[in-house]
């Protein structure tokens, strides 16, 4: 049994300069990694590479012992669920339809959904608490309800890894905290390995096992919040002066931007 993910010397370029310049990262099974860095530091790119969206990378990205670039989309989707920042279907769909998308990697070419698939969809909708509005149209939902719908879709994939790209950054702080917490609690309950890009550093500190800081496509710090979070690092990452206190709720560092 190998690690959840092993990334070695990963480089990526969109054609005008490198976005990632040699990333190394090992993710243990069941571990939650919080990904931090400024906009444009390469967080989204890293997640999209692991998800199999960007396949023309250099270096090695192995997920559960399989090299991503040589694994089919279908096979990857059975292992990895991806929660984007926004999920906006062009045409309006019912919540149930969207959650059922999560079963796509398991459906045979000619065969439709089985009773087992429908059972899993219902279970996922219960877990993410969207079953109450499963027949409603996505466009009629609030921001938080939409994100829960997307969480239910990810759960229905029954994978082993969850990728989150600033999943709830556009919601107000209360809802953002709540939705992210729901996703991570469910992930821990199911022992999923998680790599999550965060917008809010304190949210990342309180929810992750380890933090990975990116700047200009390089890893500048990796470790638990107690080990790595300090004023100098914050200055380097965010180019801002900070003051670090102890969070009275969880005894972890609390970053105050001054």
């Amino acid at each position: 049994m190998g690690r959840a993910a092993e990334i070695k010397a990963l480089r990526y370029s969109y054609g005008n300069g490198d976005v990632l310049n040699g990333i190394d990262l090992d993710v243990e099974r069941g571990e939650v990694i919080g990904l931090l860095g400024e906009n444009g530091s390469g967080k989204s790119t890293l997640l999209k590479i692991i998800a199999g969206i960007l396949r023309d990378y250099e270096g090695s990205v192995r997920v559960f012992d399989e090299e991503v670039s040589r694994t089919t989309n279908k096979r990857l989707a059975r292992m990895i669920a991806y929660l984007p920042q926004f999920f906006v279907p062009t045409f309006d769909l019912r919540v149930r339809t969207i959650v059922t998308f999560g079963r796509n990697p398991f459906v045979g070419f000619m065969k439709g959904l089985t009773g087992n698939d429908i059972e899993i969809v219902n279970r996922s909708m219960k877990a993410a608490d969207v079953i109450g509005f499963s027949e409603r149209l996505y466009s009629t939902l609030s921001g938080g309800e939409r994100q829960r719908t997307v969480i239910a879709k990810a759960l229905a994939q029954e994978g082993k890894m969850l990728l989150m790209d600033e999943f709830s950054a556009h919601l107000d702080p209360g809802h953002s905290q709540k939705v992210t917490k729901i996703a991570l609690e469910l992930a821990r309950e199911k022992k999923l390995s998680v790599i999550a890009a965060f917008h809010d550093i304190n949210q990342a500190i309180s929810m992750s096992d380890r933090l990975l800081f990116l700047k200009d496509g390089n890893v500048i710090a990796l470790g638990s919040s107690d080990e790595v979070v300090n004023e100098n690092l914050m200055k380097e990452v965010y180019d801002a002066d900070t003051c670090i206190l102890e969070n009275p709720v969880n005894k972890k560092p609390l970053v105050i931007f001054s």
């Binding site: 989707a77 669920a81 906006v88 062009t90 045409f91 769909l93 339809t97 796509n104």
Partner: protein, 330 residues
């Protein structure tokens, strides 16, 4: 239950329309006479007019309308673009160029190459050209796809005009060709077209679930295990196949594939099981109605059918274009 009722109304309505439309025309039939002709097959001139001219024409209109609506539905979902339609994204113009090129080669160079094959080839070329011209950073936005479709259509239509005038010195037939007409349709045309329409319909049934996933975004489609390029390729191919045959029979008919899927979605929603069949029925009924207007409004003179569909379709296009969310989600 409500959608089952709506579906039954559509089914009965379109069958009734088919029957009713076949009675109108330069020669008028009563419904009882139509029944008698269909059952008894008498050897009269009127019966022959009905069975060999009127009936195939109405049925052909229905089949082409159905196939165009299904094509539009497939393109709109797969390209996540509410304005997509085989006419608008240039597939029809490409098919028309292929067909005319084949006639041209035969007329001018005595070189015979299958009209359908050449038509299919250029329909596909047009589809991929339009798509890749519009594509930026992994996806084609709603408006840029439409723009590139318009340009590709212009290009192929200009080439058609050039070939036609060069070979035949004749603009009149060109006019009917480029705006579509169902006059002179025979049973052979129906036999030729039906298998392709059926293949497309069945393949789209199988692909439908995946098309709806594509409509939620390509990156999303990848993360639930689909291969977007392959699905787009399959949909382009199937649409090009039916549209190129349709064009070789009836010329360019626009907007059916644009308008009908929206009407069906308003009634049934996007993800209804009945969606595809409803598209066929409503699309078929729509084109039958348009063709009936085309051949009866100024009888005995005929209007090109594309003029009627455009009259209905253009306002719908403008309405959709003006709706902010459509463009915003590009």
């Amino acid at each position: 239950m409500k959608s089952v009722a709506a579906f039954l109304v559509i089914l009965l309505g379109s069958l009734l329309l088919l029957l009713l439309a076949s009675t109108f025309g330069t020669v008028h039939f009563s419904i009882t006479e139509v029944m008698r002709i269909i059952v008894n097959r008498p050897e009269t001139v009127r019966a022959s007019v009905y069975l060999n001219l009127r009936l195939p024409r109405v049925l052909m209109a229905f089949l082409i309308g159905a196939a165009l609506a299904v094509s539009g539905e497939g393109l709109q979902l797969t390209l996540k673009n509410p304005l997509a339609d085989p006419y608008i994204i240039g597939i029809s113009a490409g098919a028309s160029f292929g067909a005319v090129l084949s006639l041209f080669l035969r007329e001018v160079f005595r070189f015979t190459i299958s009209l359908e094959l050449l038509s299919l080839f250029f329909a596909l070329t047009a589809a991929f050209l339009t798509y890749y011209v519009a594509r930026r950073g992994g996806s084609a936005s709603v408006t840029s796809l439409i723009l590139s479709g318009v340009i590709i259509s212009f290009l192929f239509n200009a080439a058609v005009t050039f070939l036609v005038v060069f070979a035949w010195r004749n603009i009149i037939t060109l006019h009917f060709w480029s705006l579509g007409s169902l006059s002179g349709v025979s049973w052979e045309d129906i036999l030729k077209f039906t298998p392709f329409a059926v293949i497309q319909f069945l393949a789209f049934m199988v692909l439908r679930r995946k098309m709806i996933i594509m409509a939620a975004g390509e990156e999303h489609a990848i993360t639930v295990g689909l291969n977007p390029e392959r699905i787009k390729g399959a949909v382009f191919f199937l649409v090009a196949l039916t549209v190129s045959i349709a064009v070789s029979i009836a010329g360019l008919i626009g907007f059916v594939g644009l308008v009908i899927p929206h009407i069906v979605r308003m009634i049934f929603g996007v993800d209804s099981r009945a969606g595809l069949l409803a598209n066929s029925l409503v699309g078929g009924a729509f084109l039958v109605a348009c063709d009936t207007v085309a051949r009866t409004l100024f009888q005995p003179t005929e209007l090109p059918i594309g003029a009627i569909t455009a009259l209905v379709g253009a306002p719908v296009f403008i309405y959709l274009l003006r709706r902010k969310e459509v463009i915003g989600s590009g």
